[in-house]
Symmetry: C2
């Protein structure tokens, strides 16, 4: 339970005052007027690269107004291991003192202020120390002094993790938005039960170790997928919308302080092979977070560029691109002449192709592609087709004008998550074997569990979850056949939840025959009247050895729903004509006021929303999500822990910690204190990816705002 | 994963046809016209006592109408281990052939039939074999033949569990209705967080092993607490409302086929000491299920009698009463002259007192009572006071006229779950030490998590959950101080869920200031705008070293809710005047049509229900619930499993299996086949609680209907 240890130091840090304006925060990670990023209470892997951002705020008005709106430009910043003498940060890390930056921003203090359009301007003085690292395990104090003696101290902990590798490969599945509640529902509709006994089991059910991870953000208790992916991949929680940076207040969305990801470290330390697979458009947050560093997950063009070039506006971890990238989102690859919206107007199919990637755009080509070459597979515009439409309501599969060449055809030869993941395993295993055998890391995301839960489309969401589970089973079998199952840690987890559950059955015949909303609700059977699942063995669909419902449209369906939703209508019946649109703007433009979609679920009853009226879909929820583990190192994934611990556990298994890099004597120099910076000496072969540790300040920002 | 193994035999059994009328089933555990209880696919602990019920149905009308409504009275019933020659059941078990019984019942086939009041009568021929057992591990076939060749075969599996004891004591906590989602919410409001790092942890968070258990019923996917407790305590799933019986169709609610509970077996095999603790009225399902056997959980008087006398209408496991019974529900103890509604009009305080129990009715007396004597502690009429009212809104604690002597005073000296549980440990440990040192089993239930979630009273429910967690921590400390922590397996689980989650924060000031329902919804902050929890460190309440909110009424509260609810109004603010009443019947008597309670949450917005309009509260949900384990034998509680597996795991740890009782040669007789019945021979000292295995048929039913 390392991550939750309350040290005396941490308790002391807790005495800092908090600003309690919740709805709109001045700057989430900084409740005081002096900001240190990474903030107090953050953990680090030994040797993990990160940036530091300091800010001093002077709000011009409001309850926090200070110093006439003039921020202190003479702030100081000292760092030391606790118990040692604080040292100016530039000296401590052996870098040049960064230049002073200034800017301003505005915010609303609360909803009343927003309604009154009463903004609070804040003037800022700031600095950034870039690309530093801490090696020696222990607690460090980083103290910002400003406004004549005010101080903000961040206690940073370098975890004491040995540099011992325990697994060669990691196959990480992420069911986006997937909760235990959803897994339970998916099991019910796809696995036959006799007298309370399941006759088959989910793959997840057969994983030997279960943990629970807490998904909250640094500065809010509900997270989004960018911020949660950051936690899973870097061990650092951040703010909603942020990818692998702490969010500062500057206008530039690409200058926020970065943290190195597991993919970057695995490549830097081992030249490890990385695979990225998702059913989303591939610039979406969960795949993006393996390589991108920006506080704005919406910078899709830059995300795609980061996949192949890494970070280019600052010196950062060298990055040569993953072995495979499989997903949707052709609109960030196609040339602008075909409607592509890409970084710097380039044709990214060409960019990847020139770098040696085989480019494929359908499942047939994917399966035929050599396992020896790197492959970019983009199979549709936007998110890929849903399992339910690909396999059952196939009329929705065509006609989408979503072909990945952006020429207006239909993408009707898309692989599923299973086909993509098995191919990824083949390529990564082949290529790792042929170049050093340093192992591989694959992230495979079932993205549309989340996307379909957002739109209350339960059937499609559960179909995606079942596809994930089918992929899990097939992957384990495939790894076993390849003889590498014992070398591979298989993990299944999620990044956050939706407040979903099943509470009974619904008699569709009865509901459809009733005339009033209240009468329709009496179609719902609770407790004993929920009966048995009718999704299995009441129809004729068959999927070979895979477990999916045999009937998606039985008389007795699941009654299910959310703790939060927009106005909508419920008939608890499958949406055969394609993904659901529960709420629509029927009051004009811009669309800020959503009501029941009059054409959705027409035989159902109206459910008014519990969300703000500008919400057209459901939102993420608080619940801890499960972590399932199988393979070498599985035993450390049991129990309850923070989302960031998933990173530290994976890093432990992959042997990414370098606690002795300095104390072992391999680095010495006069420009820094021992034990906590990188110098220019010989770092040993594990560090071949790093040319130097010195900060390259603000060099030619490449991504403009 | 023993419980889910799909054998070829089980697959064959799956070919049986199913009736798919869901809302109203003819008889849940019997989709065919010939019924065997225990039904197909059931598991048994070696040596566990059970009854067998056979029924042949002849529906008079409807789609299942058969044989002119005349049930076959000449049915036969054979049993054998698979691969051996089937033997008539009476011979197999060495009991007399039971007499034929007949009756009839009616049911509605679906909601249309109910609306039309079109009942379907069913005539029944039946038999019951009582108090039998199977010892030898393996699969048995039990075949009912009826209607000239039709047959229903139940495959029963005796699990292969060694008779090895691995823990001396078990402390089983049940958070009724508690889900991972609720634990996450409780952690958020009671444990301080700085920058995404919790500064303290739940006790549950620190349990090393997590499992997930599936809570569904035998015959419906949503369970109630009686049926789910039956699964946890006997390893047999049943039907909603049933306590330790399979539900037959006879009019007598006390003649359904029984299954022996863990408490009964522990007492029979080891003279083990049992403690029963709950914050509910003590006749409620979760405590009742340790000793009661009836399909109607509402038979409260009989439940209380079963606590002290065990089962008295049939010969059954000898039972001498638990060491402690602590809870509410004085109305089932007080003499009828004081308003008590008791079994046979007796004063059960006197009944227990005459049997040597110290009777206490408040916390002061409880704490003073000797640990050497058995104690009955009943502390209030009905359910006990909620933590929130006992500790924060104390004005609601008095004035309830709920004193446990039923004389109209106020029960204002009630112990909490912690005080009851620690005292239970003291008594059980003292008494076990002084009589054979055979260990103890305590079930401690936080009952009002469920009760308050039913009425959408989030604050009170989370208060109860936090009290459970505080009790867990205190119990582990206490066991450690007593030197018996290493002898005690500590488990925390639930019996089912509610579809609850948190999805943001709510600005109470803003909501209360808005005038329309839609404007009020805009007070809700999602994602980044959910902010940090304000329940900690914004108020002045303090609970010593226990973790509870310091402010239950902050400006920014949790926005939370359910997937299922009646019509109600939400303001997401604490209900200071006592437990919530979300919906009321405003249309007359009888109360079958519920609307928003006009006096509840007056500054909130209306949320229409998603449940039948006769629902005045929320309902249980499908989700798997967590199992936390700490102590000897903890390692077998990881992974995903069925609720019944909790019983088999506990029975494994306590050494309750007797797979070799017969094959060891200790029993032989001409009146039965070897290996699967009990005869009258010497069963060895482990079986001292059993006088014989023969069935005592229908002897003097004591509980009338």
């Amino acid at each position: 339970m390392v991550s939750f240890r309350l040290t005396a130091l941490a308790a002391a840090a807790g005495l800092a005052s908090f600003a309690y304006a919740q709805t709109f925060q001045r700057l989430g990670g900084c409740p005081t007027l002096g900001c240190v990023f990474p903030p107090d209470q953050q953990d680090f892997l030994a040797g993990q690269l990160f940036d530091i951002r300091l800010e001093v705020h002077a709000p011009v008005n409001g309850s926090e107004a200070f110093n006439g709106g003039r921020p202190d430009q003479n702030f100081t910043f000292f760092v030391s291991k606790v118990g040692e003498t604080p040292v100016p940060a530039a000296q401590f890390f052996g870098v040049q003192e960064p230049r002073l930056e200034t800017w301003n921003f505005t915010y609303y203090t609360d909803l009343f202020a927003r309604d009154a359009r009463a903004v609070t301007p804040v003037n800022v003085a700031a600095k950034a120390y870039r690309r530093v690292a801490l090696f020696e395990p222990g607690v460090y104090a980083a103290t910002l002094r400003y406004y004549n003696g005010t101080q903000t101290t961040a206690y940073w902990t370098v975890r004491d993790i040995a540099a011992v590798r325990r697994t060669k490969n990691i196959l990480l599945f992420i069911g986006d938005g997937m909760t235990t509640n959803m897994i339970t529902a998916a099991r019910l509709i796809a696995h036959k039960q006799i007298n309370g006994r399941y006759q088959s089991l989910m793959g997840m059910d057969q994983m030997p170790v279960i943990g629970h991870q807490m998904t909250h953000s640094l500065d809010s208790f509900i997270t989004d997928s960018a911020n949660s992916a950051t936690a899973l991949y870097t061990g650092h929680k951040s703010t909603v919308n942020a990818l692998n940076v702490y969010v500062d207040s500057s206008p530039d969305v690409f200058d926020d302080p970065k943290v190195e990801t597991i993919a970057e470290m695995f490549y830097r330390l081992y030249q490890g092979h990385v695979g990225i697979v998702s059913t989303a458009f591939i610039a979406d947050a969960t795949p993006a977070a393996l390589t991108a560093h920006t506080r704005d997950r919406g910078q899709y063009g830059a995300v795609i560029d980061s996949f192949i070039h890494g970070i280019v506006n600052y010196t950062w971890t060298a990055w040569n691109g993953p072995d495979v990238i499989f997903g949707g989102g052709a609109e960030q690859f196609c040339a602008p002449s075909l409607g592509g919206v890409t970084y710097q107007g380039q044709d990214y199919y060409n960019v990847f192709n020139r770098s040696g990637y085989t480019v494929v755009q359908n499942n047939t080509s994917l399966q035929r592609a050599s396992n020896s070459s790197r492959i970019l597979g983009i199979f549709s515009v936007s998110n890929m087709a849903k399992w339910l439409d690909r396999n059952v309501y196939t009329a929705n599969y065509g006609g989408q004008k979503n072909s990945p060449d952006c020429r207006g055809g239909n993408a009707t030869d898309q692989p599923g998550l299973k086909e993509m993941t098995l191919k990824a395993i083949d390529v990564l295993q082949t290529r790792a074997n042929s170049s050093g055998n340093n192992g591989w890391f694959i992230m495979s995301e079932a993205a549309s569990i989340d996307k379909q839960m957002h739109t209350l489309d339960y059937d499609r969401a559960l179909g995606e979850l079942l596809e994930l589970d089918d992929t899990l089973k097939a992957s384990i079998n495939h790894l076993s056949q390849l003889g590498v199952l014992n070398d591979t840690l298989v993990l299944v987890t999620a990044d956050h939840g939706h407040g979903f559950d099943v509470f009974g059955s619904s008699d569709s015949q009865y509901m459809n025959a009733q005339r009033t909303d209240r009468a329709k609700r009496n179609a719902i059977g609770t407790y004993a009247n929920s009966g048995q699942s009718q999704y299995i063995n009441t129809g004729s669909l068959s999927y070979g050895s895979s477990n999916f419902p045999s009937n998606w449209d039985p008389r007795y369906t699941l009654a299910q729903g959310f703790s939060a939703n927009p106005d909508h209508r419920e008939d608890y019946q499958v949406h055969k004509n394609g993904p659901r649109l529960p709420a629509t703007n029927i009051t004009g433009f811009p669309a800020t006021d959503y009501y029941v979609n009059p054409t959705d679920s027409p035989t159902g009853f109206v459910v008014n929303g519990t969300l703000p009226t500008n919400a057209d879909q459901g939102v993420h929820s608080l619940t801890d999500v499960p972590v399932y583990a199988l393979g070498p190192c599985q035993e450390i994934f049991g129990g309850s822990y923070n989302s960031i611990d998933v990173f530290y556990k994976m890093a432990t298994c992959l042997g990414l910690s370098r606690p002795n890099a300095v104390s072992s004597g391999s680095v010495a120099g006069s420009n820094g204190q021992g034990g906590h910076y990188g110098g220019q000496g010989n770092l040993g072969k594990d560090y071949q990816g790093i040319t130097q540790y010195r900060q390259y300040n603000e060099s030619s920002p490449r991504y403009g705002v």
